[in-house]
């Protein structure tokens, strides 16, 4: 480590900050970030807020604008309580995936902290938002704020016109389905009728070309008729585009009882749920990226003599608080700290690229010793989500360092069993189990609309695909079904089908549950 140079080159000294200083520090940090780490960021808008405003932002899911709903009031009370009792400190910053990227800085932060936060949020998170494929694909950073502004005004207007209670009922129901209100995959674009005719023609042509009279002579299959579902069922499923994983979308488009403004509210909730969907899939990566960036940038600044030793000590202290990870048996343990895991994995990639061991060469032949860790990281940040990132880059070294182990938990047995630990046989298993636990598709219940007979009883049929025997929690499930019925207007049923056996494990209908 080079010795810090003369005092005059320091970006700042002392703990007080002002806007000129913030701006200078940002420019210095950005210069290094761009030339050294090749980061690519949105323009930045920094907003200074007080602690109370930070609490406000917490309660409205971190957005600067939000429509009004009682549940946000409840969350605010909870956050406030935690804060006042000292159970949890407030974040030093909050960053919003928008263009320009909005970074909230707390007024109480010292200058050293502001520098740290700038590197973390204004550059680390910002780069991730701009470059990760999930965010690029699913969120429109430049329009989210104006959309939220529209949503807030629209819902306020609805409240005026239709009454608080009416709007609240719709929002309650929509919030209950928020998890089921996202598209997980892009769909192929809808074909025009011309394209569809073309497709049919091509298929017929192919059938003509590959015609073989022999097929005709085959005896008819015994259960041939049973296997083929009813023609009308197939057709109506096709017209409604079933099965449909996005419940809110389906209800918005197909519910028979909703008024236009109610559909618009469903749409607003759905759009917001979709906006947050990438963030939920990239916790480790997002925080890891930001932490790695601030750690690297701050050290570079220190090495170049641009920040003093005192400030650096303060920064390091905060840094180590953020990446603190107690073991599972520690009373302070509350799950895996995404900051810690993300940073460790990224520093590990840096190590593998520059100083690989033989083991690393076996596990990561394409990056081990390549020397260009920046390229590897930029590529990972752009193209992975937590699940795939862990599946690809969690190294045995890190598994040993963290002393990961897998605990098998079968509900009806009176004990947990240790399934794998950090040994030669366990690495693969630990890695894939950890990756699975970050797979949002697997950790949330998989519920789809499978059928509805609009001409018949109009019962909306939902299907829950049960994986590993994990059923739904009953009271929550019943209450949510009631909400679905409120939006659908007719009876709703939910069938639990085991994915392995294909058997229906349970079936509930909203009419059975009652109010």
């Amino acid at each position: 480590m080079t010795r810090p140079a003369a005092r005059s080159e320091l970006l700042f000294s002392g703990s007080d900050w002002d806007f000129r200083l913030l701006s200078q520090v940002y420019d210095a940090i950005e210069a290094i970030a761009v030339e050294d780490l090749h980061l690519d960021v949105y323009p930045v808008q920094m907003e200074i807020i007080s602690s109370e405003q930070m609490l406000d932002a917490y309660s409205s899911v971190g957005m600067p604008l939000m429509y009004r709903h009682w549940s946000f009031g409840k969350h605010f009370l909870h956050q406030e309580l935690l804060y006042r009792k000292g159970g949890r400190g407030l974040a030093y910053e909050l960053v919003i995936n928008s263009n320009p990227c909005i970074v909230y800085l707390m007024e109480e932060n010292t200058m050293a902290l502001q520098a740290l936060v700038t590197a973390h949020a204004a550059l680390g998170h910002n780069h991730f938002f701009k470059n990760n494929h999930l965010f690029r694909q699913w969120t429109d950073a430049s329009s989210i704020l104006s959309y939220l502004d529209f949503a807030k005004r629209y819902i306020a207007q609805c409240e005026e016109r239709h009454g608080l209670a009416e709007v609240e009922a719709i929002l309650d129901a929509a919030h209950a389905l928020m998890d089921q209100g996202v598209f997980r995959y892009h769909r192929p674009p809808k074909l025009t009728s011309e394209q569809r005719r073309e497709e049919i023609r091509e298929r017929l042509e192919y059938e003509e070309q590959s015609y073989n009279d022999l097929w005709r002579t085959l005896p008819a299959s015994k259960h041939g008729t049973n296997d083929e579902p009813d023609d009308s069922t197939t057709e109506r499923k096709e017209t409604l585009n079933l099965p449909e994983e996005n419940l809110l979308y389906f209800l918005e488009k197909n519910s028979l009882i909703l008024e236009p403004w109610q559909r618009e509210i469903l749409r607003i909730v759905r759009v917001i749920a979709q906006y947050f969907y990438p963030q939920r899939q990239t916790q480790v990566m997002n925080e890891g990226c930001a932490t790695f960036v601030h750690y690297t940038l701050m050290n570079t600044l220190f090495d170049r003599g641009m920040i003093g030793e005192g400030a650096m000590l303060e920064i390091l202290k905060n840094h180590s608080n953020v990446v603190f990870q107690p073991g599972f048996d520690d009373p302070r343990f509350s799950g895996i700290n995404p900051y810690a895991l993300g940073l460790d994995m990224m520093r590990d990639i840096q190590r593998i690229a520059t100083k690989p061991t033989t083991e690393d060469r076996d596990w990561f032949p394409d990056i081990a010793g390549s020397g260009d860790w920046r390229e590897v990281l930029l590529d990972a940040w752009a193209n992975h989500r937590d699940e795939s990132f862990i599946r690809q880059y969690l190294s045995p070294t890190l598994i040993r360092k963290w002393r990961f182990f897998v605990l098998a938990d079968t509900a009806d047995e009176p004990f947990y069993e240790v399934a794998s630990i950090h040994n030669e046989r366990g690495y693969e298993k630990v890695r894939s189990a950890l990756a699975d636990s970050y797979d949002i598709g697997a950790t949330r219940p998989n519920i789809q609309v499978v059928d509805v007979d609009l001409l018949g009883d109009r019962q909306l049929r939902l299907q829950h695909k049960i994986k590993d025997g994990i059923v739904l929690e009953e009271t929550g499930c019943d209450a949510t079904l009631r909400h679905v019925r409120k939006l659908w207007g007719y009876d709703v049923s939910l069938a639990g089908v085991d994915m392995d056996t294909g058997l229906t494990v349970y079936e509930r209908t909203a009419s059975q549950i009652g109010d």
Binding site: Y26, F76, A176, D179, A408, T410, Y416
Partner: protein, 434 residues
């Protein structure tokens, strides 16, 4: 260089709307919880913040979520010290907090603080002083300015810029005030002509243009851009605000026959009443009268907290009340309410005098008279339902039969205070319309 925005001075309480929505939603349960607390604790504590637990009904946010006690799953945990594959760990007993590794505690399980205002709002909901607006009020004390069109005179602070500029624009068009563009165009033409080769035609043209320019300049100076005649001011009318004058008389017996318990209960009743009045009616005046064998008007502090003893002559208090009404609160201008608390003891012949006073004068002046009798707990089952009672109770029953705006009730335990209070002051929808 980033954009900076200083948000620290933005309005606070951005989430106030959410909080209000939340409290409205949980209203019934919060109300019950506060009343429970007040019933068990001191009445005076109503006037403070309250900690309540998160109501269970109506504030849960359901969603489809996995049941924790089903199926197989795998947890990946850090910090293995001694486990090898195949080791078994006992499952913690169900119902323990953190029943599984890495489980978060439930967010719904917490207590939070309601502010004093919110507590009082919930506590006094549906209560109202009966018939407050019945008396036609002649006296109007307050005026409130209200926008009423425009005027040509006024103070500079209330200039209406839009109107003024519209007038000025119209006047400028009507009087053909030369536009700056026109003048500029002529000046430019003169300049180009002067630069070009001087000829007779050009010189003449220049002279004509200069004359025109001169004319325009003069005209422009004469016709002002904004003339005093253009100026309009916002006009404000003083709108009378009907002012409901109300005065509440609190009468309490502090004689020797009132034991500590009775005094305490009476005080509790009045504290509640006092809070209620302070909360509901900003302008309500309150007169405290305490009496033994003689009555005197006292201030709030003395009324609630100082002690005195002596015999009991209830009529003295009523007389004092009548005197004060006569002196300060003419019934033509004031809504008059009264609440009296006593243990029912009275000097033997005085009850008749009380009836006479009430019947003869006071009830005609009053909008409402509430009498609360504090009785012994052991007597409550005797007096609770039957017609038995003290001499004062009997006397007042006669009054009650005659006057619909006279109410009486008995309190035996502190727990009765709030129900009785509610019964006395429950909002009566359209009860006395007309």
């Amino acid at each position: 260089m980033p954009i900076f925005i200083d948000r620290r001075l933005n309005p606070k309480d951005k989430s106030l709307g959410n909080r209000q929505r939340f409290i409205r939603r949980a209203r019934n349960e919060l109300k019950r919880s506060i009343r429970e607390q007040v019933r068990s604790g001191k009445i005076a504590d109503v006037d403070a913040e309250h900690t309540v637990s998160m109501p269970a009904n109506g504030t849960s946010e359901p969603s489809f979520s996995d049941a924790r006690d089903s199926g197989q799953r795998r947890h990946v945990l850090p910090g293995n010290k001694r486990f090898v594959p195949g080791d078994r760990l006992p499952r913690p007993a169900p119902g323990m907090p953190r029943s599984g590794p890495g489980l978060k505690e439930m967010e719904d399980d917490f207590r939070f603080v309601l502010s004093r205002e919110e507590v009082l709002d919930l506590f006094f909901e549906d209560l109202e002083l009966p018939d407050l607006v019945k008396v036609n009020l002649k006296e109007i004390l307050a005026f409130k300015p209200r926008r009423a069109g425009f005027t040509a005179t006024g103070s500079p602070t209330s200039i209406n810029v839009g109107r003024t500029m519209r007038n000025s624009h119209g006047r400028r068009i009507a009087l053909k005030r030369p536009k700056p563009e026109d003048i500029e165009a002529i000046a430019r033409e003169i300049a180009t002509l002067e630069k070009s080769t001087p000829s007779v035609a050009a010189r003449e043209r220049i002279a004509a243009l200069k004359a025109e320019l001169d004319r325009l300049e003069r005209r422009r100076r004469l016709i002002a851009y904004v003339d005093p005649v253009d100026i309009r001011y916002n006009r404000f009318d003083a709108q009378p605000v009907p002012n409901a004058n109300a005065v509440m008389f609190c009468l309490m017996d502090v004689s020797g026959s009132m034991g500590e318990r009775e005094k305490d209960m009476a005080k509790r009743f009045f504290v509640l009443l006092h809070l209620f009045l302070k909360r509901r009616y900003d302008a309500t005046e309150i007169v405290f009268i305490r009496h033994t064998h003689q009555a005197q008007e006292v201030d709030e502090e003395t009324f609630f907290y100082s002690t005195q003893s002596g015999g009991t002559v209830v009529s003295t208090a009523l007389e004092e009340m009548r005197r004060i009404i006569g002196e300060r609160y003419p019934s033509s201008e004031w809504n008059i309410y009264a609440a009296q608390a006593s243990d029912g003891d009275n000097f033997a012949t005085d009850s008749e005098r009380c009836i006479a006073l009430l019947d003869g004068e006071i009830m005609r002046l009053c909008q409402y008279f509430a009498y609360v009798e504090i009785i012994d707990e052991r007597e409550s089952h005797i007096f609770g339902s039957t017609e038995n009672g003290t001499s004062l109770w009997h006397a007042y029953e006669a009054v009650s039969a005659q006057w619909p705006n006279f109410q009486m009730s008995r309190i035996a335990t502190p727990a009765d205070i709030y129900p009785v209070f509610r019964q006395l002051f429950t909002r009566q929808p359209d009860a006395h319309n007309g």
